[in-house]
Symmetry: C2
Subunit: 155 residues, 2 copies
Amino acid sequence: MDEAERIRKQKELIEFIGVQQEREGFQPVTARIMGMLMVMDKEEYTFDEIVEEMQISKSSASTALKNLELRGVIEYVTYPGDRKRYFRFVSGEIDGMIDEMKKKMKQHAIIIHQILDLKKDPNSRNALFLKNILTGMEFFMLQLDKFKEEYHSRP
Amino acid sequence: MDEAERIRKQKELIEFIGVQQEREGFQPVTARIMGMLMVMDKEEYTFDEIVEEMQISKSSASTALKNLELRGVIEYVTYPGDRKRYFRFVSGEIDGMIDEMKKKMKQHAIIIHQILDLKKDPNSRNALFLKNILTGMEFFMLQLDKFKEEYHSRP
DNA sequence: TTTTTAGTTCGATATTTTGCGAACTAAAAA
DNA sequence: TTTTTAGTTCGCAAAATATCGAACTAAAAA
């Protein structure tokens, strides 16, 4: 695979990640900036480089970058004697991802609890099924911490 | 909590679940139908009951129900001598949820592999971080099957 | 056979979201 | 002090999406 081919494929992948991240609730431009910061060989971009590379307005870039920072997806660094910000992807750890997963699951569990609390018949089809799921989720969440330990002490 | 209060809270919860499911990519009406089928005491609704209860057009109901069925969220049953369909929430099992999770994670892993394959420098900041995540994800996916076993053989 | 039921399909309309440009700001440089 | 840089904010227009209504269909009932 030659250089041009590789770069073409990178662009394609950015687009694919873009579409995927849109489904996760990011706006189109935002999703593609994420993709770019993950995929490209250059891994730190200034505001103007992003505007240039993505062919978007400064306002779109501003909005997107603020959003990504707020969500903890990107961060920026600065270098002495240069007042530009250099935006880059945050390099999270596996532990952080597990915690994230746990948090999300806990929120789901709360909702399920609320549904159950409001059921007239606690033995209705849905109620029983939801109780079942809840038990599974609780067991699963307990396993997650065990997983972290095992992962770090693996051979 | 009296009956009226309970029902009011159910409606509130449907709205909350609706907003939540919109973020997961469902359209507003679709998301609220999901909520309704999970939360309400009546757990099987005909097409016309859904139209009535949600105050939506038949076409919206049709589109939403088809979508939910396609995604495996709801199903319908029929009763002899009654040609209406009775729509209800699918009662998935914990195993199905785990498989779902694994499938999603596998897709993510494929993307990460692709990013890595296209990096010029395999030791760049992002490349190293992505490799790290990949290792974690692979370990995690191995654990998932173990989890299923343990869950089923729990005391 | 005709009518009714239980939905489906499709084009039009309403609503929401997205991205832009112009004007603005705070800090640094000249 | 004035100018430039590096963005931010906000109202608007365009694009995308959601929902609707009207016409349609296939199967069952009359």
